[in-house]
C-alpha cells in the first residue's frame, strides 16, 4: 500500500487527518479551558475562548474539597490491585506457558473467560459477597473485587510476552542448577521487562478508571476513589463544571503521562496479547 501518492490524494489525506485532529483535540481543549474558568465565565458569557484564566478551581478542589484524599484512595487501590495481580499473574502465566500438565487447557480457559467477563454481569452477586465478608465500604474490599478484572487481564497479557521468549535461556540456567522460580525471576522476567511495564500500566489504568464497582462498594466520602468523587459532583444539586473539569484534568494527567511514557510497550503488549490472533 505504501506508494507515491498523487497531489490530489495527498491533499485529501491531510484534510482528513486535520479534521480528525480537531475531533480528537477539541473536547480536550474545552475540558482544559473550562477547568481554568470561573463559574461566571462558564455560564454567563459562554465562549470557546479563555479570556480570564484562573487556577481557582484547582485551589478549591485540592484545598477545601479534599480531593487529595480521593487521589490517595485511588492510588492505594489501583497500586495494590496492580502489584497483587501482576505477582500472581507472573506465576500463573509462567506455569501456563512453560509447563505441560493435565487440566492446563481448562485453567487457561477459566482465565480467558474471566478476562472476557465484564463487571456489569458480576456486580450484584459481588455486592452480596462483599457485604457478607464485611468488606463493604473499605479499600481492601475494593482491591479484592478489582482482582476480578486485573488478574485475568495481566495473566493473559503476560502469557503473550512469555510465549515470545525462547525457552533455551531458561533451560540453560536450569542445567546450571537454577530452579524454575530462579529461572523465572532472574532470566525470564528481566528479558520481558518492557512487557512487565506494559502489563502494569494496563492493570493500573484499568483499576484507576473503574467506576461501577467503586460506586457500589464505597459509601462514605473519605474512602471514595477519584471517579466516584467526580460523579458525585455531577449528581449533586449544584453543578460546578469548573471544579469537575479541574478534577478531570488532575485525574487524567498522571494516567495519560504514564500511558505515553510506556506507549511503545503498551502497543507491543496489545500486539502480544489481546489483539494478536
Amino acid at each position: 500500500m505504501l506508494g507515491k501518492l498523487t497531489l490530489r490524494q495527498k491533499i485529501f489525506s491531510y484534510a482528513c487527518l486535520v479534521l480528525l485532529a480537531i475531533l480528537i483535540l477539541f473536547p480536550i481543549y474545552y475540558m482544559l479551558t473550562v477547568s481554568l474558568k470561573t463559574n461566571r465565565d462558564i455560564y454567563r458569557v459562554p465562549s470557546l475562548l479563555l479570556p480570564n484564566p484562573t487556577l481557582a478551581n484547582y485551589a478549591e478542589l485540592l484545598g477545601r474539597r479534599g480531593f487529595a484524599v480521593n487521589m490517595r484512595n485511588s492510588l492505594i487501590v489501583a497500586g495494590s490491585a496492580t502489584v497483587i495481580s501482576v505477582l500472581i499473574s507472573c506465576l500463573a502465566a509462567y506455569s501456563l506457558v512453560r509447563l505441560r500438565y493435565r487440566g492446563r487447557t481448562w485453567i487457561g480457559r477459566l482465565i480467558l473467560f474471566s478476562y472476557l467477563t465484564p463487571a456489569s454481569l458480576l456486580f450484584i452477586p459481588l455486592a452480596v459477597i462483599i457485604s457478607r465478608l464485611q468488606l463493604g465500604n473499605t479499600l481492601q474490599g475494593l482491591i479484592f473485587t478489582y482482582l476480578t478484572f486485573a488478574a485475568p487481564l495481566s495473566t493473559w497479557l503476560l502469557m503473550g510476552f512469555f510465549r515470545n521468549v525462547p525457552v533455551d535461556l531458561e533451560e540453560q540456567a536450569m542445567v546450571d542448577g537454577a530452579t524454575r522460580l530462579e529461572a523465572l525471576f532472574h532470566i525470564l522476567l528481566p528479558v520481558i521487562a518492557p512487557g512487565l511495564v506494559a502489563v502494569s500500566v494496563f492493570t493500573f489504568t484499568g483499576a484507576w478508571n473503574e467506576l461501577l464497582l467503586a460506586l457500589i462498594f464505597t459509601t462514605s466520602p473519605e474512602i471514595r476513589t477519584v471517579p466516584v468523587a467526580l460523579q458525585y459532583l455531577i449528581t449533586g444539586d449544584v453543578f460546578r463544571w469548573g471544579l469537575i473539569m479541574a478534577g478531570a484534568v488532575v485525574a487524567a494527567v498522571p494516567i495519560m503521562t504514564l500511558y505515553y511514557l510506556s506507549q511503545r510497550f503498551v502497543v507491543q503488549g496489545l500486539a502480544a496479547g489481546a489483539v494478536k490472533a
Binding site: 473550562v34 472476557l116 463487571a119 454481569l121 473485587t145 503473550g160 530452579t179
Partner: protein, 343 residues
C-alpha cells in the same frame, strides 16, 4: 535482586515454590540447599550456578509435575473461583429468588423474568443496548478501518498522528464521558456555544430525541482509537511483496484491498470486533455519566438498569436483569475464548 523488591508476602510464596521445585530436582537429602535457596531468593543473593546434574521437568513423574504447578497456579485459580466463577453462578441462583437486602429470599422460579419481560424500562433497555452497540460498532469499524488505511499510506510524521489518535483512549473513560457531558450542556456547553454562534439557537443535545445519538458519538470518540491502532498494526504486518506482486499483475487498488489487505487483517478485525462488542454491550460509564439512562429511559441500557435495581435493594430482580443478558454474553465469550485460544 528482583525478589527483594517484591514484598514480604511474595517471598513466602516464592520460597515455598523454590522449596518444592528444589526437592524435585535434588531429592530429599539436600535440606541444606533448600535453606540456601530460600535465603538466596529472599535476600536476593545470587551465587553462580554450581548445582550440577539437576534434571529438568521431563524426567519427573507426572503427578510430581502437577503438584509443583499447583503452587504456581493455585493462587490465581482460587482468586478467580471466588471472584468470578462463584459470583457468576451465585448471580444466576439469586435471579430465581425474591431476595432483598437483609433477607435470603425464596425460590420464585421464573417470576423475576416474567416481571422483567413486562417492564417497559427493561424492554427499552434491550432495544437501546442493541441500537447503541450496533451503531457504535459499525462506526468504529468503518472509521477505524478508514483511518488505519489513511495512516498506513506514505504520510509524514506517522508516529505523531498515531500518538494523537491514542489520546481519547489513553484518557480515563470517566474523564472522557464527563467531558462529553460538558460539551452537550444546554448552558455553557461547547456545542451550544457553536450552535448559538452560527445562529441555530440553543439545542438540547440531551433531550429524548438526541440523547441516544449524543451518547453514541461520545462512546465512539472514546472507543475508536483502539480499533485504529489494532488495525494499523495488522496492516503493517501484511507482507509488502504481495502488493508488489499484485501491482505487477496489474491489480487495481480495490482488487488489492479485497484480495490482499482484507484477508491479511481479517483475524485481527474479528478479535477486535468481538472483544470491543463485549465491552461496549456492558459499558456503564458512558450512559451513567452523560444521561444516567434518561430522559425517561431514552438511553437506558441493561447495566444501568441493573444498577438502579441494586439501588432499590430488590436484589433478585436486579440480578435477573444481568442474567437475562447471559445467553448473549456466554455466546460471545465462547467464540472469544475459541478465537483467542487459536493463537
Amino acid at each position: 535482586m528482583r525478589i527483594g523488591v517484591l514484598g514480604t508476602g511474595m517471598v513466602g510464596v516464592a520460597a515455598a515454590g523454590a522449596h518444592d521445585v528444589r526437592q524435585r530436582h535434588r531429592g530429599e537429602g539436600d535440606g541444606h540447599a533448600d535453606i540456601e535457596g530460600v535465603v538466596r531468593l529472599a535476600g536476593g543473593h545470587r551465587s553462580g550456578g554450581h548445582y550440577h546434574g539437576a534434571g529438568t521437568e521431563q524426567f519427573l513423574p507426572l503427578y510430581l509435575r502437577f503438584h509443583a504447578n499447583k503452587i504456581l497456579l493455585g493462587v490465581i485459580v482460587i482468586c478467580l473461583l471466588i471472584l468470578v466463577v462463584y459470583p457468576f453462578l451465585f448471580g444466576v441462583a439469586i435471579s430465581f429468588t425474591n431476595r432483598e437486602i437483609g433477607t435470603e429470599g425464596q425460590f420464585v422460579g421464573l417470576a423475576n423474568f416474567i416481571y422483567l419481560s413486562r417492564l417497559p424500562s427493561f424492554q427499552k433497555s434491550i432495544v437501546n443496548t442493541l441500537v447503541l452497540v450496533g451503531v457504535v460498532q459499525t462506526m468504529k469499524l468503518v472509521f477505524g478501518l478508514g483511518i488505519a488505511l489513511l495512516l498506513n499510506q506514505a504520510i509524514r510524521a506517522r508516529q505523531f498522528w498515531r500518538g494523537l489518535i491514542l489520546l481519547p483512549w489513553a484518557m480515563p473513560a470517566f474523564v472522557a464521558y464527563l467531558t462529553w457531558k460538558l460539551l452537550y450542556l444546554p448552558q455553557g456547553g461547547a456545542f451550544n456555544v457553536i450552535s448559538v454562534g452560527l445562529g441555530f439557537g440553543n439545542i438540547d443535545f440531551l433531550s429524548r430525541e438526541l440523547a441516544m445519538p449524543s451518547v453514541i458519538l461520545a462512546t465512539f470518540w472514546r472507543g475508536f482509537p483502539f480499533w485504529v491502532i489494532s488495525f494499523l498494526a495488522a496492516l503493517q504486518s501484511v507482507p509488502q511483496e504481495q502488493y508488489e506482486a499484485a501491482a505487477i499483475d496489474g491489480a487495481s487498488a480495490w482488487q488489492r484491498f479485497w484480495h490482499i489487505t482484507l484477508p491479511g487483517i481479517l483475524p485481527v478485525v474479528l478479535v477486535v470486533v468481538l472483544l470491543s462488542t463485549i465491552w461496549t454491550t456492558n459499558s456503564f460509564e458512558n450512559i451513567w455519566l452523560i444521561t444516567q439512562g434518561g430522559p425517561s429511559d431514552a438511553t437506558m441500557t441493561f447495566p444501568v438498569l441493573a444498577y438502579y435495581g441494586l439501588q432499590t435493594l430488590r436484589i433478585g430482580e436486579a440480578a435477573a436483569v444481568s442474567v437475562a443478558m447471559l445467553p448473549v454474553f456466554v455466546t460471545m465469550a465462547f467464540i472469544g475464548v475459541k478465537m483467542l485460544e487459536k493463537e
